[in-house]
Amino acid sequence: MSLIEAQGLVKRFGDFTAVDGIDVRVEAGEAFGFLGPNGAGKSSTMRMVGCVSPPTDGQLRIFGMDPVRDGPAIRSRLGVCPQQDSLDLELTCLENLTVYARYFGIPRKVARERARELLDFVQLGDRADSPVEPLSGGMKRRLVIARALINEPEIVLLDEPTTGLDPQARHLVWERLFRLKQRGVTLVLTTHYMDEAEQLCDRLVVMDAGKIVAEDAPRALIERYSTREVVELRFGLDGLDTYADKLAGVGERLEVLPDRILLYAADGDDAVAQVHGRGLTPSSVLVRRSTLEDVFLHLTGRTLVD
């Protein structure tokens, strides 16, 4: 049985459709990612899975249960790190965790022990008794992650867990999430960082305008939707289009950006040789491996929709 199973899942707000009939399966022990531009419907999906937003249509099963009927039973086994921190600003860090533990019916003593452990886990141990309000954005984020783990959940839902964190804190969070995964915890996360998705996710879907436009393992997506390598060429800013015409046929695909031209090719060095062979002298040349970001931009377009 899949831990999360959605079929034709729809979420509408008024007559606006935020999630437009998606099919998702998440298996136990997996790290599953939702990628997509702003407004794609990632958070709306996460909230439905978290049983805090009733689906408008379609089937949704979590642990094989129905989110509307069995909400409390499901939520008792979930850990949730929502996009907005939603901490209790009037309480201290430690109290935020112990009070939260009580909502799950965790005995006081256990709650205190776990809270201390988790504060250490996210390296906030020395801030236990300080109020939450003055914490930095990144510290608050880590506290929210700690809070999501207080009930030793089987599934952790992380909506942009590392947005706003500095590189050190991001790596700390990645490492912690990786450890959770090793313990067999199922992770479901959304992110705008492609490196994060590549590092953490076994499988991911790319959403756009409420629909799933691609689904696979990160490497497989890169293989399917991009070439192995990408060549970035700069020629100054004028007349990029005329260069594009002269480059036709080099590599598998070509994309003109405002400031450079991207050549998608299996072998980058070979493509560069062809470019020089046509008598072109770009002001700069960069050959790199394809990343998930190339796939993402290819699938969801480069323009801002909203």
Binding site: G50, V52, P54, R75, P82, V99, G105
Partner: protein, 273 residues
């Protein structure tokens, strides 16, 4: 047979778990109350009715003299007014905590977004907050009753009987306040609420028996909730027991149950989008 035998304990367990989760919501407030500074906020809720009692009960009372109770006995004016001040302060305390704080927690602090991601349900949040509103209101009431006994405005037994009556008033108005909070759009709505509260405070048999008003006005007053609270508390502190008390009791219990149910449902609708 077997199914009912199993269903009963299951229902009992559901209620038990629900209550435990509600108490966890209450516990959040109790945790906050341990912080310094919180209690200063509460002091005003206690002094206000005391000042009314001193100025009107004793000041005006000296001019008014004795007033008749429903059973025909007469009592000094201060004894008549004191239980009404008590019931009003129970109402004000409960409404302040439930309406204002619930609104702030729901709309500004977005406190419940996190709470509802746990097994706690909206109704359980409502019950938990209501229990806290009543704990807070109950503390004012207990203090006020101690003063009433000390001033000879009621007996110890009267006070002990009146205390649960004030708790019921807290519960009922807490439920109503919560329901109102779910309709509030912004802070300016609270001005209307204050005005309504003040009107109730003046015209609920607080300062004069309702039958001293014209018949129509009297009927109107008898429909409003504070009237029932005042009558109930006054019966306890003055030791006037009549069958009509059951009607007051039923009114307040019904108010509590109905408002709480709707409040829970509306909170669910507002927060679980």
């Amino acid at each position: 047979m077997v199914t009912t035998a199993l269903a009963l304990p299951r229902a009992a367990r559901r209620i038990d778990e629900g209550l435990r989760r509600s108490l966890a919501v209450t516990g959040r407030n109790a945790t906050l109350a341990r912080h310094l500074g919180y209690w200063w906020l509460l002091a005003s809720g206690f002094f206000e009715p005391l000042l009314y009692l001193l100025s009107i009960g004793f000041g005006v009372g000296a001019l008014v003299g004795e007033l008749p109770l429903p059973d025909g006995r007469t009592v000094p004016y201060a004894e008549f007014v004191a239980p009404a001040m008590l019931a009003s302060s129970a109402m004000n305390g409960a409404i302040a905590e439930s309406t204002m704080n619930l609104f702030a927690k729901m709309k500004h602090m977005r406190l419940y977004d996190a709470v509802l991601a746990t097994p706690v349900t909206p109704v359980e949040v409502a019950v938990g907050e209501l229990i806290w509103a009543t704990v807070r209101g109950g503390m004012y009431c207990a203090a006020f009753l101690v003063i009433m006994v000390a001033m000879g405005l009621t007996t110890v037994w009267g006070a002990l009987l009146a205390f649960p009556a004030t708790l019921l008033v807290c519960f009922a108005f807490g439920g109503a306040g919560m329901l109102l909070a779910t309709f509030m759009k912004g802070w300016q709505d609270f001005d209307y609420l204050m005005a309504a509260q003040f009107a109730l405070f003046l015209f609920s048999g607080t300062f004069a028996p309702v039958d001293s008003f014209p018949t129509v006005a009297r009927w109107l007053m008898e429909l409003t909730p504070l009237y029932h609270g005042v009558e109930l508390v006054r019966a306890a502190t003055t030791g006037t027991f009549q069958w009509v008390l059951l009607w007051h009791l039923a009114y307040l219990v019904a108010l509590l149950v109905v408002t709480l149910r709707f409040a829970g449902r509306r909170m669910g609708g507002l927060l679980l989008k």
